[in-house]
Amino acid sequence: MQTVVAREVHQVISPIAHPRSQDARIELDGVTKRFLTPSGDVFTALEDVNLVAEPGQFCAVVGPTGCGKSTTLTLVSGLDRPSAGTVRVGGAVVDEIPSGIGFVFQTDALMPWKSVLANVALGPVFRGVRKKQAQAEAREWLRRVGLAGFEDRHPHQLSGGMRKRVALAAALINAPSILLMDEPFGALDVQTKAIMSNELLGLWEQTKPTVLFITHDLEEAIALADRVVVMTAGPGTIKAVYDIDLPRPRGAVQEIRFEPRFLELYQQIWESLRDEVERAYARTAGGPR
């Protein structure tokens, strides 16, 4: 309990912008994950995955559906353990949920019975911050994601894009040094997605957490990330890693798509991704393996 209180005090003085150090490095070393299916078969989701995300790096993982992208995130977050290999966060092997992690889920993970304010305040409340202080922090974060005035609403009263903002604020309020995002904007319409991507970049540039961003949208990956990792169709392995040398700050993600360098990178990575997408599609369509 003592240590929690100490951390909280630190939190109050500086709610954002911790200097990022080695504690934000993500390292997967020979990671394999197997599941037992209900029928008793063994299903290999990840096979010998080696992946490094440097502190403060925005790392996007692309791959066809069902290639184990999401599994990677649950392993890094400590919600699940690898069957073989090690996952390290900040040099320490992950054997429980590490502190300093934020997770934005694919579907809404907001408590429908709590107000927007209470949802965002959950992180500090769980860490033992007093309710009033937690709510003040939450109010500030809602303002930052452009939802001032919506504190007393319930999630079902908000649009999909607004709910995503709440989820972002709820994850970022803990000032995570690592932000895990599992196709966070997958369910949004194209325009909302573009707006949310810009806002995410704006927020990320303020505190520079290490981001592991899962998506199946290559354009989104290139527009946002410093590094794009291509995964093979299941069992997931790392096929190729591309460093994105587009300058930062990127500006509007809608416009960067027309830059010649963007198109060049897109073509290059798509070459690699296409085979995997086709293989995954042939499999789900019942075609030859």
Binding site: L79, I97, S99, F105, A109, M111, W113, G123, F126, H156
Partner: protein, 283 residues
């Protein structure tokens, strides 16, 4: 602009008027249904098509209720009988609900406990638990204890199964999210599991209160010194169907009042839910 506003109010007025008319028609039809049933009963009893000796008569039931209110029953005033039964039912309800929630959440959370105790709970649930009333009567006698116990056993299983199911249905995503945000196991239970199981638990309360009244009445039936169950048993022994129906009317009124309270509680606790059109139908 003004013509648009005008037509809008006109449309709104028309819709409101239609709704009011419909409500009036529904209430009229309801009153008519009651009148037909009670009137038919009264009439057929007068004509001896239905034998009032066995099946009573609305006017007889009314006279019986009046007699109870004015002169009391053989065991004291009618209000005392209602109070005794209500007290037993409420106590049984409270114990049963508390036990059901605690065990339901515990077994829903701890897989091992559920696997070990699951079959036994199923067996006990399959037994006709009302028979336990006899055991409680022998063990605890004529007082309130045996009735409260019977009522709480009946209530327990209803609430338990719903709480258990509710805990099992909790969104895994919400639990994962809370854990990543730093929640301890207890914080997860308090902030995620119980609130989301509450929808299931509250749904069971409607049925559970009915069961608590059944428990109290049957318990009194088996042996008591006071209470509506005893009033019914006495009426039965005196070949007085009006007395049985009269007590039934009283229980019905009590149960409906309790139901209204539970509905109120439900609205308060589940205020966060988006309004669903189905809820307005039977309100």
């Amino acid at each position: 602009m003004s013509t648009v506003a005008l037509t809008e109010t006109a449309i709104a007025d028309a819709a409101r008027r239609r709704r009011r008319t419909r409500r009036a028609v529904v209430w009229f039809a309801r009153a008519l249904t009651l009148l037909v049933i009670l009137g038919g009963w009264e009439l057929f009893a007068d004509e001896k098509i239905i034998d009032p000796f066995f099946y009573g008569q609305p006017s007889g039931i009314f006279d019986q209720l009046k007699l109870w209110v004015e002169h009391g029953t053989a065991y004291g005033s009618i209000w005392l009988q209602i109070w005794v039964t209500l007290k037993e039912a409420i106590l049984g309800f409270a114990y049963g609900v508390a036990g059901g929630i605690v065990f339901g959440v515990a077994l829903g959370q701890v897989r091992f406990l559920a696997d070990v105790l699951g079959p036994y709970i199923k067996i006990i649930n399959a037994l006709p638990r009302i028979v336990l009333g006899s055991i409680f009567f022998v063990a605890f006698g004529l007082g309130t204890t045996s009735k409260v116990l019977l009522a709480s056993v009946l209530v327990f299983f209803v609430v338990f199964f719903n709480a258990f199911q509710g805990v099992r249905e909790v969104d895994r995503n919400l639990v994962a999210n809370a854990r990543v945000l730093g929640a301890s196991r207890w914080q997860v239970v308090r902030n995620v599991v119980i609130p989301s199981a509450l929808v299931w638990i509250i749904a069971s309360l409607h049925v559970a209160f009915g069961f608590s009244i059944i428990g109290a009445i049957v318990g009194e039936f088996l042996g008591a010194q006071k209470g509506l169950g005893l009033v019914i048993a006495t009426s039965q022994n005196n070949f007085n169907p009006d007395g049985v129906f009269g007590a039934m009317v009283i229980i019905g009124v009590v149960a409906l009042t309790a139901e209204a309270f539970i509905a109120q509680l439900e609205r308060r606790l589940l205020a966060w839910r988006p309004p669903s059109p189905s809820e307005t139908g039977l309100a």
